[in-house]
């Protein structure tokens, strides 16, 4: 019983108490605002309640245990205390509390992001059920708008975290030859913030009218929360903004940690040109997250200020004088949002670029075709991604004269992206391709992201975008890149690194079922959606004209297949984790550093720090035609 304090269990209880204390304090001592909704929650009481929830949670999971001790004792922690905080000798409970070991944090992220993926998937199933026939028959349009907004935001939050979180934390430090991340306590804090952020965010569909009543509560805005409708919409906007702000903070912390780790903690001999592409991809993504997230946070804060304190960042008074007493600018919200929103989608997909390339190398048994080309591709995307955001505003009426500039930069970003395809194809060519499930998903990335990229080029052209913007063509495009690209990359990464992270092998037969179901379900569903988009169907609609019925029916049916396949994946993960075949240290015959340490990975990763003498892509060298024995060792790579 002692072991449960501190832990997630204690954190949940203290968090609930904190929420009640915080919100009721406002309700009884400060008084609710003039327009309370639902059970006496107005926006101020909710926000203070959320702060109480966060503090209670952090106290309960032990985030303050050592920092206060160290602060009051006015001394730095010694190695013994650091190890204790990293969960040494703690057993399984260390996964359920504030633990600094990067491997524990990685596993925590893996589980939490898979839960988020399931929540987002639930939203998708509800959406497709509403859209399977014309007429908003499943549930009312207000509920539908809330579900669409939730599905979009949760999936974005999931895809932002599901590479940097599990793999950036668990794999990257070992891959570069470090004992841990640069800031282990910050690392533990970032996952410690993600969980309450998710809980707070999930308040959204339940707020408003009495619990569980979809209409009137929730948000009507879509995940893009444009200022004007965000100012107007129901009380769910408060928990939406608070949850996302918290998760954004967690994301920035994680990103800063990754960037510092990669820049300063590479072991001797691990030069920038010997880094695996996975590290480059995650590094590039972390740069985008660290630089761009604040723009979104500012947008959210402005919306909260507009709603609670009646400022007018985005509010334009109408009726009478069109210039408005409000004086706000709706375009400001769009620009703030998309200035982050565009780099964000590259932040989602860049780790997939790197991971897919690495997997193609390992399962193609060939060195990487064009290391510097691949790096140029990834870093080229990082730089250009900050210059393209206004392509989301081609029809918004904002600064129409400079649209050609953004058309140019958006079309230019296809060049570094194309380099990734070149590197992938060159690596595959004449390799010895081992078709494991991880390899299959990496290959599917190439097909799916190709379609995503090509449809993106259509949208980058201003005259074409005038017709295609705001329709299902855009929805299909970004699903091809996010699902077909990032999610397939995630699946590949899980199948690839599962043996190292959990010590078990995932079931290959279930993996093949997962693979084929996913590919067929996803491709047919979203190709049909592209068709509906060409026909002229707007996006985010609960009801549509009958000519779109055929395409939507097909999309819904195959979306169900996609969901069923992903559930098979979840089952595979859980069943293999519990009772899968035990894994050796290097089951795939890979050559990067993480495969050279034993499984399970020791607390401090390496007995002695490795010295690296060559890159991770040394396949097919004349002196090394045999694959290293599937046992690996704990020493670093030998020369040659």
């Amino acid at each position: 019983m002692r072991k449960l304090v501190p832990s997630y269990f204690a954190g949940a209880i203290l968090g609930a108490i904190g929420f009640i204390l915080g919100s009721q304090f406002v309700v009884h001592f400060i008084g609710v605002g003039d327009e309370p909704d639902g059970i006496n929650f107005d926006q101020q009481s909710l926000v203070i309640g959320f702060i109480g929830l966060l503090l209670g949670w952090l106290i309960g999971i032990g985030a303050f245990k050592y920092p206060f001790t160290w602060l009051l004792a006015r001394k730095d922690p010694d190695h013994e205390e650091e190890m204790r905080l990293a969960g040494k000798d703690d057993g399984a409970i260390r996964y359920f509390r504030f633990t600094t070991d990067h491997k524990v944090v990685g596993i925590q992220y893996l589980v939490v992001t898979m839960i988020m993926l399931a929540l987002g998937g639930l939203g998708a199933m509800l959406i497709r059920t509403e859209l399977i026939t014309p007429g908003a028959k499943a549930f009312p349009t207000g509920t539908y708008n809330t579900i669409v907004s939730m599905h979009g935001m949760i999936m974005i939050l999931t895809t932002i975290s599901f590479f940097i979180g599990p793999f950036g934390n668990f794999i990257v430090p070992i891959m570069i030859g470090a004992r841990d991340m640069a800031f282990p306590r910050l690392n533990a804090l970032s996952i410690a913030l993600l969980i309450p952020g998710l809980v707070i965010f999930m308040f959204t569909p339940f707020l408003g009218l009495v619990i569980m009543n979809g209409d009137g509560g929730g948000v009507q805005t879509g995940w893009t929360i444009y200022g004007t409708i965000a100012d107007q919409t129901g009380v769910g906007m408060t928990s939406f903004a608070a949850g996302v702000l918290l998760i954004g903070a967690s994301s920035i912390m994680g990103a800063v940690n990754v960037v510092t780790t990669v820049m300063t903690m590479r072991t001797r001999g691990m030069t920038w040109t010997r880094l695996p592409m996975t590290v480059w991809g995650i590094f590039g993504a972390a740069l985008l997250a660290a630089i761009g997230t604040s723009s979104f946070s500012v947008d959210l804060l402005m919306i909260l200020l507009d709603r609670v304190y009646k400022t007018s960042f985005f509010y334009v008074a109408v009726g009478g004088d069109a210039a408005g007493a409000g004086g706000g600018s709706p375009w400001l919200s769009q620009n703030l949002f998309w200035f982050f929103g565009h780099p964000e989608v590259y932040l989602i997909v860049l780790p997939a670029f790197g991971i897919v390339i690495d997997i193609l190398v390992v399962f193609g048994r060939k060195p990487l075709f064009g290391y510097k080309t691949a790096v140029l591709g990834i870093m080229g995307v990082v730089v250009l991604s900050f210059l393209v955001w206004a392509h989301h505003e081609f029809v918004s009426g904002w600064a129409p004269e400079i649209r050609p500039v953004y058309m140019a930069t958006t079309e230019m970003i296809s060049i570094p992206t194309g380099l990734i395809f070149l590197v992938a194809l060159g690596t595959l060519w004449r390799g010895k391709l081992w078709m494991t499930t991880a390899m299959l998903f990496a290959l599917s990335f190439i097909w799916n992201f190709l379609i995503g990229g090509i449809t993106g080029i259509f949208l980058s052209d201003v005259p074409a975008d005038v017709q295609l913007h705001g329709g299902m063509f855009v929805t299909a495009h970004f699903h091809f890149t996010m699902v077909g690209g990032a999610l397939m990359g995630f699946f590949a990464a899980v199948y690839f690194w599962f043996p190292k992270m959990t010590g078990r092998m995932m079931d290959e037969k279930l993996g093949k079922i997962h693979f084929w179901g996913t590919q067929i379900g996803f491709n047919v569903a979203f190709l049909a959606m592209l068709y509906a988009g060409l026909q002229g169907m707007p996006r985010r609609v609960a009801d549509y004209a009958p000519i779109f019925a055929g395409a939507n029916f097909v999309t819904s049916i195959f979306a169900y297949l996609l969901a069923a396949s992903i559930i098979v994946f979840f089952y595979n993960v859980i069943a293999s984790w519990v009772a899968g075949e035990k894994a050796v240290a290097n089951p795939w015959g890979a050559k990067s550093l993480e495969w050279m340490v034993p499984t399970p990975v020791p607390l401090e990763n390496f007995e002695e720090m490795p010295v690296v003498a060559s890159g991770p892509y040394d396949y097919g060298e004349p002196a090394d035609t045999k694959v290293p024995a599937a046992g690996g060792g704990s020493a670093g790579q030998a020369a040659g």
Binding site: E35, D37, G38, L122, M125, L126, T129, G135, A138, F139, P140, T141, G142, T143, L209, V210, M212, N213, G214, D215, G216, Q220, D231, Q232, T233, G234, Y315, A317, V318, G319, G326, D507, K509, L510, I513, D543, Y544, A545, P546, I547, A563, A564, I567, V568, F570, Y571, N572, A575
Partner: protein, 244 residues
């Protein structure tokens, strides 16, 4: 074999979760009960005899249950034109149409709607809506007087029917302004509702069967532009009308 079974079971469990959430959403959605129009004989229009039906609606500044005696005094038998009145619901202080927002009228008929409005005035944002459109004679009757437009400042709400034009149903568009109660009209003892409502009446012709929506276009809700709160929520200032 066991792994396939396990996977199948998990898929079924997942499907069950989705269905459970769906069913909960459907059952907790606040859709007021269907109110069908009452029969009122025939109506002679352009030398044709069409069916004539009526709908009787009220508009309240807040739920009538806020005023403790009001329901008992005005609706002693618990019905409005035979339709049972809804129970006290959520958001008692929201402006609302009553007793329902889900209507059903017959096709190829003349529909007469009578709205008793207890709510005060709020200026229309768009003057376009101060004229009745699509009604017989393009007029409305306000407290007995026939009018073909009202002053935008006198408006309280509108009742506007429209929907997706499609090849499978006829286009239907009817819009009328609902005049508000004077600012210094006498109130009832509880001080919440005026003693007498302003009655607006209008008629229109339905075409073939179809599913349409209706909404208010007056900024009578909450939020900056008056289109939030009850204006953005089904069941208060917006609903559906089925022509069958």
């Amino acid at each position: 074999m066991r792994r396939y079974l396990g996977a199948l079971v998990t898929v079924l469990v997942g499907a069950a979760v989705v269905v459970a959430v769906l069913v909960t959403l459907i059952n907790t959605a606040r859709i007021p009960k269907l109110m069908a129009a009452s029969d009122a004989g025939t109506y002679s229009l352009d030398a044709k005899n069409l069916k004539h039906v009526t709908l009787n609606l009220q508009t309240f500044p807040q739920s009538p249950y806020e005023d403790p005696d009001w329901i008992a005094k005005n609706y002693p038998d618990g019905t409005v034109n035979g339709v049972p009145i809804p129970p006290a619901g959520d958001n008692q202080d929201w402006v609302t149409y009553w007793p329902s927002t889900t209507f059903q009228v017959p096709a190829h008929a003349v529909v007469t709607i009578r709205i008793e409005n207890y709510d005060g005035k709020s200026t229309l944002l768009n003057d376009f809506y101060n004229k009745p459109q699509g009604t017989l004679g393009n007029t409305i009757t306000v407290d007995g007087k026939t009018m073909s437009s009202i002053k935008s400042e006198d408006a309280s709400h509108t009742f506007t029917i429209h929907s997706i034009p499609s090849s499978q149903q006829d286009w239907l568009y009817v819009s009328i302004p609902v005049t508000g109660v004077d600012d210094n009209a006498p109130l009832d003892p509880a001080g919440l509702m005026p003693l007498k409502p302003v009655v607006t009446e209008f008629s229109f012709v339905t075409q073939g069967p179809g599913h349409y929506i209706w909404q208010c276009f007056d900024p009578c809700g909450s939020g900056f532009d008056g289109f939030g709160g009850p204006m953005s929520t089904k069941g208060y200032m917006s609903g559906t009308i089925d022509v069958v």
